[in-house]
Subunit: 422 residues, 2 copies
Amino acid sequence: MKEFVIKGDIIYLENKNEIKTYKNHYLVVKDGYCQGVFPHILEEYKDYVELDYSNKLVIPGFFDLHVHASQYQYRGTSMDLELIDWLNKHAFIEEAKYESIEYAEKSYSMFVDELKNGFTTRAAIFATIHKDATMKLMDLLEKSGIVSYVGLVLMNRNSPDYLRLKDDKDTLKMMEEYILESKKYQNTFPIITPRFTPSCTKELMKGLGELRKKYNVTVQSHIDENPSELIWVKELEPECKNYTETYSRFGLYGGDHHCIMAHCIYNNDEEIETLKNNKIFVAHCPESNMNVTSGIAPIYKYLDNGINVGLGSDVAGGSSLSLIRAARQAIQLSKMYYRYVDQNARQLNVMDAFYMLTLGGGEFFGKVGSFNKGYEFDALVIDDSKIPSLLDFSLLERLERFIYLGDESMLVSKFVKGEKII
Amino acid sequence: MKEFVIKGDIIYLENKNEIKTYKNHYLVVKDGYCQGVFPHILEEYKDYVELDYSNKLVIPGFFDLHVHASQYQYRGTSMDLELIDWLNKHAFIEEAKYESIEYAEKSYSMFVDELKNGFTTRAAIFATIHKDATMKLMDLLEKSGIVSYVGLVLMNRNSPDYLRLKDDKDTLKMMEEYILESKKYQNTFPIITPRFTPSCTKELMKGLGELRKKYNVTVQSHIDENPSELIWVKELEPECKNYTETYSRFGLYGGDHHCIMAHCIYNNDEEIETLKNNKIFVAHCPESNMNVTSGIAPIYKYLDNGINVGLGSDVAGGSSLSLIRAARQAIQLSKMYYRYVDQNARQLNVMDAFYMLTLGGGEFFGKVGSFNKGYEFDALVIDDSKIPSLLDFSLLERLERFIYLGDESMLVSKFVKGEKII
């Protein structure tokens, strides 16, 4: 199905500040790209297949900018610890299992299955230090129709013996192989993934920076997440003026293909400026930030300064792959930030949440996250009649109700790059 | 079905600090009361009907201590305002519609239907100022099998003209009729419901206190919810030393049948002592407290001081009737309280959440919320295989996963007072 027209109640952001709502309109897709939204089917599209989603919401796909596939199995447990303890007592023990390709295949199949059947159309994913298991995850994602960046996770210090890459030369060779082997995929891409500064020595970071330069591969990592982590980074890298510099000094920050930095809770003003100048994508992970007692990221500052922000489920610091939950949590947490951190802060609203869900995260993947002409067609068809009411709501109100009360049972169809995958 | 045995994976609190978990055990119910949990069926119960819920979780019902049935229709919208503005611009306009008994019947039918099909087995509910509509809600609840207290909401000041009771004598007469007429119900009870201090004059409060004394009816209201509300109450009732006294001076606080006070975010130390001494049930409503930017209640103080705490959905300050959402939000918000308000505060955990969901709220209704011998049998049967994993979890871990990832699609059966209603 290369050319088709979707009929429905269409909502998308033209840009961060302008929302478009079209009741009972027609959205035209050709070769994977949006052609426009019209009140009736134009003559030139009259031979296109028509998909009738009348009275359903048609919105762009959601983009998960931060998720650990290898922590999927124990999501929703062990939420009684702060970040560093939680890593040592739970995350690392589970991740070690991915040395077994059999375990990886079973586990990643379940992860990909849930991702495919949910709202996410594209994702930036952390795997583990194991190359074979990571390539298995990439195989499964490629087959699913989801578009993804998948990180072979790098850790060569402050990690248990069973989960530590011991020889930097071998590690960089493995990274190079993974980058080259990934060329066989259409929709699945490598991404350089130093776990976070405490896990990677300067020497390894330097090597990764060189690899990045050689292959023009993008980067994802964690930054400024938790107070105890910040103290630790300062101890580990005293010569750096801030956390940002631990990445940027080796070319693992900014650059042509924008990087993703997850969390960004405690970035100081200088770091915020650096975020902006380097066109970093902030992955905001509200559930995880609550669960491991990290804090509340000042997202309004980023949005109002033109910094890119998308949402991350951060499974398993977050329990749920569902970004609709992250969207409402982002609004709710911003209200607690206002109440307890800064009464000059702007509270986030439904428009901000919809932006982070769609265009804000989507643009990491290119012209994605809107139905503007020329954008790749990632879309969700939502049956919001499952949130019954006697009232007659506007399209914007229906969007708000979906953000607060929506779940995956309302997903009727899902499109990625113009392909219908559900 | 008066006598039956349920087979399943049984979890309940014996008391606030002791949890019982029984894999593959038998829970015996007779005439609506729990008889005990056994590893096999005893001789004396061998003729009882056996309900096989093997591998399912069997847990006590959940108790919604604070919900506005009359705000159900617009749940999940209009979340862009703080409490007082939100009341004036949305809540009051919707509540006025319940002057029409036809609207009330249609709307309340939908509300009761969702309540019946969810996790809640008993609830304390706010209706509106309209007696006929309120009695209609009570009729519908009585038929549903849910146990409830339903408040005819009282407002005689600071309310729009169309939603203000104008003659106290008429109002008290209406209240008396509602109390007397409610005697026809088995499972549906009246509850004196001054909306909150800003809505009720001293004279009305005094009359309500006398009515309470005459009929021994319990009380529900709001207290210490939002900073701007606190300032307003201080202006309105300058002679009271705190918000609590605006109720207690007229006998609308404490007493034989314990009262419910919703929110309790900004109670000072003296008020916390008064909460305890009067055996008040605190209705903790975390979603609403975020949505209308109220703040975070110091729930650990209440729990650790032996104060009763249950959860409230507070629809439509909260968007969702699902208390499992409130349970995880309670834990998550307590972590933000620790981070931003008081680093000496105790962070809530899964046990606290399970307590508030079951025994903490249940005891408002009597010996309810546990499977201890002699407790009324309110129970949920949960199919947690819908949260798939390769890992082998303990019953406590399964409970934690349900709290973080559970939803109503996992509800297999539901019992209230020993009656199977789903």
